[in-house]
Symmetry: C2
Subunit: 379 residues, 2 copies
């Protein structure tokens, strides 16, 4: 899925399809998100009565961590989002059921977040809210969803603990399904905790290959499909269709982080590259300059989207993963070993840059892209 | 909310509104649910590589349990379901924002399940999937949702760890929101595990009061509202409306189970009375006869629904909680202490019956209702 395509730079012009035009308005969501974060923080005091305490630093990170004594407990809930609509469209238009891929995507959304804090994922719970009982009556897609879910759990080494499969007519749109997953894991030994304390200038940035769009930037891709004369049937260079290419399942990175732990490699910080694309590389709260000197190959489907939607480099890399699904920050001396361990897990990786002293910003040299602290506001 | 109303028996007749007519068809969901359960069971072997193991008996129970060494880990994901549509209707029709109550309901769905296995809930994650960014732009309802969520976490003694607030136009219906919660907790000491091993003839059944419909049977209530000339505005005896009465928040039972643990009371088994109403009392896999000799008072809103929908006793108690939101099975000698501890937590409770040797069935004496093993198929 990651054959080499030379990164391109397309200047913005009148035909550009922005993310906001595609129906996702972060400005309207974020103030309430921040209010919720404040309220959430205030509840941490509840843990004292149980003799445990949160790791406050984990708030704002991709998973929440509680120190329960012998180890840390990490937990998360995540959802697939609107990528299900692509699977639905491809299924209706030709009958190709790619619901196994969609299941893997959903688990990836949760597990790839959970592992960023250094946790070993243990249990995944399924949240499958259908628009009506009929969704489950189509045994083919339902069986594919189940098979994909099981396989993804096995890849991640987690037990599928159970879940909830409600039929929610009137809440979820008819003939589709809202897919989510919760995941719980442990950070053990506690020294595996990777909340960024050890991030330092001189560290290397190792990027792990994505398989395609994963599950972020999909609203943009859907809007683009509406514009294309053949929609999701638009042929890609490799003979697949645009719809099928979009549905390449998200890479599961848990085997890599577990293998790194077994190899004794100390990971300083991790970033799951999801919404906001490469701007997520600015996630760590500290003031560092991140310099990217090598770009990973761009998956053809992302190259296609960026060209067709006329995104400039800043828009493309600020929205899509552009070939990098996960970032590991490690000491420079260990960077090549990280690449080797990832390769043993079947995941391509690149030492793509380094962490420098300096104002908080991300510099992508080959693209002339520089983002400052204001490019990502998650906290 | 639980003022005394004499339980009634209304014979079924042509005007009866059944749950299947109300749009929930368990037959179509359950085969796939069982297929998913089989696949899930097969993934348990994954835990061995991490040096931990599932408690296999917890599959089929309300929360999944893993033995992680010093204690057990319990986890769950749950959703509010269609009750949000009642809150939406009441909000649109008069502007009364009851989203704080809805938040409590959502947390109750997860936490009241988690505690059945003997777990102390520690962390709740929020899953709030809106039909569009606009949902969060209405600051009043969003702020109410946040305030209710925070308060419910505090009542349960859990930390609100974070969550996900996506805008999912095309998946979730416009101007509503799909609310879910995941919860993780620990069973500590391990002797608190209450998966039913100790359930025995002679045990007492203690029922804990519900506040109203909670979040199950709501599809039926919504269908009924469509039939009523004044819909959700229909006045109830106490001066509230039908809509407001439906939105009485679900009782949170975690303070009771934690108080019982502190009091040293050994709970043999718990049932969260949700979907399938009192048929859930047949949840334990063993062969016992459950004899109910005392009925709790029926909350007025449930009495109203049963009468207006012309449900006979079997339909009413087999669908709605009818005043009993949670059941505790304890040794007869401790039953009255359980009632006293619950009362100290502000939750009314009754020693409602006992466990007997005999074929698996539930006998509700005052109603002439007898359900056999076939009344509830969850496994």
């Amino acid at each position: 899925m990651t054959e080499t395509v030379v990164p391109y730079v397309i200047p913005a012009n009148a035909g550009t399809l922005t993310y906001q035009q595609a129906g996702v308005d972060y400005d309207r969501v974020d103030p309430i998100k921040r209010l919720a974060q404040q309220a959430a923080r205030a509840t941490a005091a509840q843990l004292a009565q149980h003799g445990v305490a949160e790791i406050a630093q984990s708030r704002g990170e991709s998973a929440y961590v509680v120190d329960v004594g012998p180890f840390h407990l990490a937990s998360i809930v995540e959802c697939l989002g609107t990528k299900i609509l692509v699977a639905d469209a491809v299924y209706r238009d030709g009958g190709k059921s790619l619901y196994a891929a969609i299941a893997q995507d959903t688990i990836a959304m949760a597990v790839n977040d959970l592992i960023t804090v250094g946790a070993t994922p243990l249990v995944v719970q399924a949240y499958w809210a259908a628009g009506g009982s009929d969704w489950f009556a189509d045994e083919r897609r339902a069986a594919d969803l189940i098979a994909g879910w099981k396989a993804a759990c096995e890849t991640c080494g987690v037990s599928w603990g159970g879940g909830e499969t409600p039929a929610l007519a009137g809440v979820v749109e008819g003939d589709t399904i809202d897919l989510g997953a919760s995941c719980v894991g442990i950070v053990s030994p506690k020294s595996r905790l990777s909340l960024g304390d050890e991030l330092a200038e001189g560290d290397a940035i190792v990027l792990l290959a994505s398989s395609g769009i994963h599950a972020n930037g999909v609203s943009l891709a859907r809007k683009l499909a509406e514009r294309l004369p053949e929609g999701y049937r638009t042929p890609m260079a490799d003979g697949t269709t645009f719809g099928e290419a979009l549905l390449a399942p998200t890479v599961l990175y848990a085997p890599v982080t577990e293998a790194l732990a077994r190899a004794g490699i100390n990971v300083h910080y991790c970033v799951n590259v999801t919404g906001h694309g490469w701007r997520k590389l600015l996630r760590h709260p500290g003031a560092f300059t991140y310099r990217v000197t090598e770009l990973p190959p761009v998956p053809p489907v992302l190259d296609f989207i960026a060209r067709e939607a006329k995104l400039d480099a800043s828009e493309a890399y600020g929205t899509l993963n552009m070939g990098a699904g996960f970032a590991l920050f490690v000491s420079a001396a260990e960077a090549e070993r990280v690449v080797a361990v990832a390769a043993e897990c079947g995941v391509a990786a690149w030492v793509a840059g380094c962490v420098e002293a300096g104002p908080k910003r991300l510099v992508i040299e080959a693209l002339d892209v520089v983002w400052g602290d204001d490019a990502l506001q998650l906290r």
